[in-house]
């Protein structure tokens, strides 16, 4: 696997360790710098978990608050990002359990008038496929969504994903393959139709 394909943050390990140490002492600027450094992956993962911009920001804020509160529990020498991602995962799980009966939030690929949000161009190559994929992704569990988000959006290596989710490497590989297979299979509604 090409580790250079990772889209993750770039921070020297010594710098990160120093910042973590300062943040553990309660220095807010150090925590701010850590959060800014790992902002993009945290936001992307939160958006994949919530698929809503407002909820994504709320999840990031709550994750940062938890991080500030529990920064002393971060073991020395451990990377900041996997620990923050675990916090976000726990919060997303709690939120998913709270909203168990509510309709799932998905991302619309199109505006109501049929144009894309991004550039306003009309027409999609395979709209039905995209919507089916979004539906299937929304039906995944939080752990499965997080697994796929770390791999597909952050392009994290298997080892880092395993470290972030605190699971064995082989289990990580197997679960990613299983999630891909689940997305490939038709949804229960399609199977019934």
């Amino acid at each position: 696997m090409d580790a250079r394909a990772t889209q993750g943050p770039w921070m020297e390990h010594g710098r990160e360790a120093a910042l973590v140490l300062a943040a553990r002492r309660g220095e807010l600027p150090a925590l701010f710098e850590l959060l800014r450094a790992f902002q993009l992956p945290l936001w992307r993962v939160c958006f994949a978990l919530t698929r809503h911009r407002g909820e994504c920001e709320l999840l990031v804020q709550e994750t940062a608050r938890r991080a500030q509160k529990n920064i002393k529990q971060l073991p020395e020498g451990q990377s900041f990002l996997p620990w923050v991602l675990r916090l976000a995962r726990i919060l997303a799980l709690t939120e998913a359990r709270r909203r168990a009966g509510e309709p799932r939030t998905a991302v619309a690929a199109l505006r109501p008038d049929g144009t894309r949000w991004e550039d306003g161009t009309r027409g999609v190559i395979d709209l039905a496929f995209e919507q089916r994929l979004l539906t299937a992704f929304a039906a995944l569990s939080v752990d499965e969504q997080l697994l796929l988000a770390l791999r597909l959006f952050e392009r994290m290596p298997y080892a880092e994903i395993a470290n972030a989710l605190e699971q064995p490497l082989t289990a990580t590989m197997h679960r990613i393959a299983m999630v891909r297979e689940r997305l490939e299979q038709p949804t229960p509604g399609e199977a019934a139709a």
Partner: protein, 474 residues
């Protein structure tokens, strides 16, 4: 031939295969069309998900979000309640899965060529959001080149000291020595007495008659004949013993008798309204019974033939109920309010919805009653009345039945003439009947679990029968 497992294909997609495993997969893909198709399917699936769920709102958005986040964290570190950005979620459009699927059904799936730059610029989006509030962005994730530019050394953030003030400048103030009073011999050092006033209780100060004061060896210091008011005044510390004598009691009684009479605040005249009393109803006369019998099955034609006015105005004031239903054992009798005061009651401002029931204190009160029509079967419940139509007119009847897809009657459906604000509910057999002025009317039928139905009916002088079919709500 044994196909590749999904683990092998997944690892191949992720570039996690090396050595013999990679060679095995590559060789198999070169020969097996099925596995090649599945590999392509999963690859397309990954690309589509990256395309759909990637979100890069830009540096400005991240800067703003960082500021908001740091504000919250700073507030939390200081123990202050963090500011809630409650409007954030409210302003953002929330797209549910149903809306996505609905949009997918409504949109044309046929691929269109990309429009030209002019056409794209001429197409204005229907909804304009701020840049940071764009609900969806489908930009594909572009892998960033590695290594990036070396990070600039971040400038250390200087801690902000809150509440830091310069020490106050102490300026010596020279207090001049007070001049000696002429009567008092100057003594050094000068002792200034400090008088701390005691909290003054509320005392009712009574005037003391003059003759008693003359007999009093020492006048009471608070005998300045103040008015009889409750004021904050210090109680006299010394009570003359004469207050307990017979003369003192006499003087006190005299003073009490001299008090002005009790001032009564006149009560405002409260508006009085007619009182409605429920009185047991007398046995119904024979004509109403015949009317009830006639109204069971073929009521509409008979009612029009008998020219029963579809308007009931209560004189004497009794509530009129629709025929065909069980008569209420009580009837309402309105009692005229008796005004004992000289002035008639001032009318109270009533809300607009109640303006149709003005109080009539002088004449016999008439209860405002909706135009009630003897229904064909029963319980037609006239719900509202209208003020812009003449209730005394001879309105034709609009009767009908509401059925579902299977032909079963829909009970409890709400039938409305929206433009006239008239309505009724269907009975157990799905029947309804209401009176409305002639003309073209829009009949709306709303029922729980069914989609609303509308139908334009043309009311003439004759009774109109309609049949409305409701479809289940989607």
């Amino acid at each position: 031939m044994r196909h590749l497992t999904v683990q092998q294909i997944s690892a191949s997609l992720d570039g996690a295969l090396v050595g013999v495993s990679l060679e095995l997969v590559v060789r198999h893909l070169a020969t097996c069309r099925e596995c090649r198709a599945r590999h392509a399917r999963l690859s397309k699936q990954d690309d589509t998900l990256r395309h759909l769920l990637a979100w890069d709102p830009g540096a400005e958005y991240f800067e703003d979000a960082s500021i908001r986040l740091e504000t919250i964290l700073d507030a939390q570190s200081r123990g202050v309640a963090p500011p809630r950005i409650a409007e954030l979620e409210a302003h953002l459009p929330r797209v549910t899965l149903d809306e996505v699927l609905r949009a997918a059904q409504a949109a044309t799936v046929t691929p269109c060529p990309a429009p030209s730059a002019e056409a794209a610029s001429s197409e204005k989006p229907t909804m304009q959001f701020p840049s940071w509030m764009q609900p969806e962005t489908n930009r594909p994730v572009t892998p960033r080149p590695l290594p990036r530019e070396p990070r600039k050394p971040t400038t250390p953030i200087e801690p902000v000291v809150l509440g830091r003030k310069e020490p106050p400048v102490m300026t010596p103030v020279i207090i001049p020595e007070p001049e000696p009073v002429a009567q008092v011999a100057p003594v050094a050092p000068v002792i200034v007495p400090v008088i701390v006033p005691e909290p003054e209780p509320i005392a009712l100060v009574m005037p003391v008659p003059a003759p008693i004061a003359a007999r009093t060896p020492e006048p009471v210091p608070t005998t300045e004949a103040p008015p009889i008011v409750a004021r904050r005044r210090a109680l006299p510390r010394w009570v003359p013993p004469m207050a307990f004598t017979a003369a003192g009691i006499t003087a006190l009684l005299a003073a009490l008798s001299a008090l002005p009479p009790v001032i009564r605040i006149p009560e405002p005249e409260l508006p009085r309204f007619p009182r409605i009393e429920l009185v047991k109803r007398q046995p119904t006369p024979a004509p109403e019974t015949s009317l009830k019998v006639a109204a069971t099955e073929q009521a509409t034609s008979r009612l029009t033939a008998n020219a029963v006015p579809p308007v009931a105005v209560a004189t004497p004031p009794t509530l009129v109920e629709p025929a065909g239903s069980e008569p209420e054992p009580f009837e309402a009798v309105v009692h005229e309010p008796s005004h004992t005061g000289g002035k008639p009651p001032t009318p109270m401002a009533m809300p607009a919805a109640r303006q149709t029931t003005p109080a009539r204190p002088t004449s016999a009160p008439v209860l405002p009653v909706a135009p009630v029509v003897p229904a064909a079967t029963s319980p037609v419940e006239p719900t509202t009345t209208t003020s812009d139509v003449d209730p005394a007119a001879d309105w034709p009847l609009l009767c009908g039945e509401v059925l579902d897809d299977t032909g079963a009657p829909v009970a409890g459906a709400r039938v409305l003439l929206a433009d006239l604000d008239l309505g009724a509910r269907t009975d157990k057999r799905g029947r309804f009947c209401l009176a409305a002025p002639p003309g073209d009317r829009t009949l709306s039928v709303v029922a729980l679990g069914f989609a609303a139905a509308r139908q334009v009916v043309s009311l003439g002088t004759q009774t109109l029968e309609v049949r409305i079919a409701l479809h289940p709500a989607p």
